[in-house]
Symmetry: C2
Subunit: 552 residues, 2 copies
């Protein structure tokens, strides 16, 4: 049996080595268009910044090792230009020698990945304009920066865009970040990405959000990036990181079925519409674990698992891809943002009913040095409380909590399960009531109606004085209140509330807030016990500031 694998990075390399583990007899040929296989694409930005100084480190597994250890016939600089399904062969162009040849297969595995999107912007071919996909790209970018660059523009504030920005700043390059949406990290909800935006600005990154780029032009001295707003940003280099699209052109030309977003359709066992052709990784459409609907999740973890599954299926093993949930994490300077499952935006777009909750717990015991809050947002079903998605932003400990939430989502757990989970506690690592338990408590309170909740978007417009306007109560200390508060809120500190309850009207709804939400919760319960129609502002003033940055 001859297995031909097109693509030698995450999915391709996983398929090839797994195939060898399952069979000593199979002939395994890996065709890779680029010069390298199995390189660390997620590490590329850190080579630019110098955190991964040694380029060799990025070559995780070299062709020689694949040949020696796994008897894989690795052919780099070999581009597949056509698939002839009838004759079961691929046409290969040897880029080093310019020759073409036909290569027959018994099973073909497509693992061609995704390529950086090149939106319709004039000037993308100018010198000094880059995209980032492989080692050759980062070599070019690094050489350009090494040559002495004072300014750069990064277009796109997704994961890769932000990693590039951080590493440009590390190199001392004055960097402007341009993003079409009015937030960074568009895969997260805006309020959860707000601390990352703050940090970028604190570190000197200039940001142009909600702006579309129309052209890049060469001026007498440098480049200029032209925005639809008319703004022009002068810069010495431009790096595009506006997303990727599945490299499915070859598959389409061969008549394989594609999904609506351009990814190759598979049957859940990585088989395409041609049973002798399997596909895996970023070029493939996957099932969303939450919605059950087709989607694209171009991430290394799912790609690796799909490659492994493709090999299993070729050798008749029962193996199925369970769907992707989009678990992702990014470090931006000293902050970390992470997500799993669906965001609020995508739930809304998908028409899925949800509730949400926020907490700001510390990553570890508050009495231990370097305790620092993170924000956890949970999205869950209104009835059962089943987890639909979660986002975490903070510093240390974010990776820990997003992984727990990712597993909870995979397991179909509810917010009630999060209340009960017994996580590891020592003062350096957690709390007796872990951040995850706290998130569960608050979500469960919302679901059970123990503590009604309102959101910043439900507040009356500042200065409104309608007769049914809720009474707005801030229960923080006078010092905290004086340092900044939401417009129109009245201050009665929590510990005075019982004694001053007469000041809280009983003929109107009462909206309570505090700093993080916990004292507001206590106050809401006191008010409810006293017969008031009270609700707590989710996430408190901390979250409010993130949704209303102008009040700061």
């Amino acid at each position: 049996m001859r297995i031909v694998i097109v693509g030698g990075v995450a999915a391709g390399a996983s398929a090839a080595t797994r195939a060898r583990r399952l069979s000593e007899e199979a002939e395994i040929i890996m065709l890779e268009r680029g010069p390298d296989v199995s390189f660390a694409n997620c590490g590329l930005p850190y080579h630019l910044g110098g955190e991964i100084a040694d380029r060799e480190k990025l070559l995780v597994v070299k062709p020689e090792l694949l040949a020696r250890r796994f008897r894989i016939d690795v052919r780099t600089r070999s581009e597949v230009v056509a698939i002839d399904r009838a004759r079961k062969l691929v046409q290969v162009r040897d880029l080093a020698h310019g020759q073409r040849y036909d290569l027959e297969y018994d099973k073909l595995v497509l693992a061609m990945g995704a390529e950086p999107l090149r939106p319709p912007i004039a000037g993308l071919d100018l010198a000094g304009v880059f995209t980032l996909r492989n080692l050759a790209d980062i070599d070019r970018i690094k050489a350009f920066v090494d040559g002495g660059v004072g300014s750069a523009v990064v277009v796109g504030a997704g994961f890769i865009g932000l990693e590039v920005v951080e590493n440009l700043v590390r190199r001392g390059v004055a960097t402007t970040l341009i993003e079409l949406q009015d937030q960074v990290l568009p895969v997260l909800d805006r309020e959860m990405a707000a601390p990352i935006l703050d940090r970028l600005r604190e570190r000197g990154v200039m940001t142009r959000l909600g702006r579309s780029t129309t052209a890049i032009e060469r001026t007498a001295i440098d480049l200029e990036v032209v925005l639809t707003s008319g703004e022009r940003v002068a810069t010495q280099m431009v790096i595009l990181g506006v997303g990727v699209r599945p490299e499915s052109k070859l598959a389409a030309e061969a008549g394989l079925e594609l999904g609506s977003r351009g990814g190759v359709k598979t049957d859940g066992h990585q088989r395409t519409s041609d049973p002798d052709i399997l596909a895996a990784g970023d070029m493939v459409e996957v099932t969303c674990h939450v919605t059950g609907r087709p989607t694209m999740v171009p991430l290394a973890g799912p790609a690796n698992r799909q490659g492994r599954i493709a090999a299993d299926v070729i050798f008749g093993k029962e193996s199925r891809f369970r769907g992707a949930q989009g678990t992702a994490i990014v470090r931006v300077f000293d902050l970390v943002a992470a997500t799993t499952g669906l965001s609020e935006k995508s739930l809304r777009q998908s028409g899925i009913a949800y509730l949400k909750s926020y907490v700001h717990p510390n990553q570890h015991a508050s009495y231990f040095p370097a305790a620092m809050p993170m924000t956890i947002k949970l999205l869950f079903t209104p009835g059962e409380g089943k987890l639909l998605g979660a986002q975490v932003v903070g510093g240390e400990g974010v990776d820990n909590r997003i992984n727990v939430l990712a597993l909870a989502l995979q397991a179909g757990m509810t917010v009630f399960d999060l209340e009960e989970v017994e996580l590891a506690y020592a003062p350096q690592f957690g709390s007796a009531k872990d951040a995850i338990n706290m998130a569960g408590f608050v979500a469960a309170n919302v679901l059970k109606g123990d503590c009604p909740q309102v959101y910043a978007e439900d507040l009356p417009a500042p200065g409104s004085h309608t007769h049914d306007r809720p009474f707005l109560l801030d229960v923080r200390t006078p010092t905290e209140f004086a340092a900044g508060a939401i417009p129109d809120f009245v201050n009665i500190p929590l510990d005075d509330l019982r004694g001053r309850i007469g000041e809280v009207p009983s003929d109107r709804k009462v909206i309570v807030t505090c700093q993080a939400g916990q004292r507001g919760y206590y106050a809401t319960l006191i008010l409810k016990h006293a017969g008031r129609d009270a609700a707590n502002l989710a996430g408190g003033y901390t979250l409010y500031k993130r949704t209303h940055p102008q009040t700061r």
Copy 2:
């Protein structure tokens, strides 16, 4: 309704504040024998060492706050000396004024915790001999060390014992650690605790394992700790950390039902055998989440949850304790060890059938700086692969992985689920195939029989030459092999194995090893394909060294 709560730390404070949130009307009285409530008992050792320099930090919630915010009548230095169930009152001794009074209750919550075990050792009352439970204890210990102490003995190598040792070393005190069992951290399996033992020794801690202490004696200058072995260890101070026992004497005297290990029995809703008396925290017997059998789990997390549940139940809320699984973590210098569920030892003692697997993955991408291996041990059912327990030892990232495994255990997941879980990957935080996925892969291979496994304890005795002795094959590089190997193993590097397969006998079983287990896995598959009866040594040479320290 009057709720009287006996004990004001984890479970007691949780019960009190939760009760107030559920009712503004209830009278809530908290009786605490000591001077402080709700102090950070898990932080005490770090006050000794200075990492938590400010003693105030350890007073997490002060009586005044409980009074002001939660209208809880906190009475410190108030010891309950008797419970009169018939008259529904407790007899209280006011330790400050020496008075006694009766206090009626509608509901009584016992949350008295556990007290340090004082084993039958002569001399425990000598000056310079300490136990550690509360702030007064750490004040005494710290004052003694501050006074100038050159040497100390810690008896007991459990979590608290090791935390005390670390902090004594931090203070420059020459420390000897004595432990009855032949390992540190007896709650873990011996091979998993071995790296911690190494680190203790590297940091200058003298260890006496497998030794029982019979007496502490005062000499002309110092103290001497006398061991059953006859050894005598001279020291200036002794700290006992040999475990705790439930403080259930009062409950027993009141006729409440106790379990076989001395904890108060409850009905899963924290109700004792008297429905008006609830109990929570370290004094209570809990159900083991894995075995369903009664056990004692004196940990802060479960204590807090039980306190909360006790309050819920008093107010008629449906709330149930799901059982404890013993998730725990400890930092020892720069290493971290953690566990959840049952250890191999306890599974064996409980007569529960299990399989086990080991992996040594890095905490994050190997190509990113500071990548460092951790060891993950999984224990799972032979049929279904359902998780029974897990242990992790390493550095950064151990907290993350034990939490994921704790949640997986709670969710009743299998090792197959761990193969599939989509965790967060960026080079700083994980790998495309996360440590958890790797642990799942190896365990699944064992279960599915894809790669037979043997354990260090199954190896033939060194030098044995019986005719059925397995062929012992080490597939590491010659350099690695020369640096240290298991006795009687023969070296054929993995990448040469196919060419030298003739050197591997086909009439005997073949046991393969490498450094960590992965190359051994590849080699085992090659040998199986070539018709050999091969099995891989679990955890490789790395694990072998931990079980056979004399070979180092």
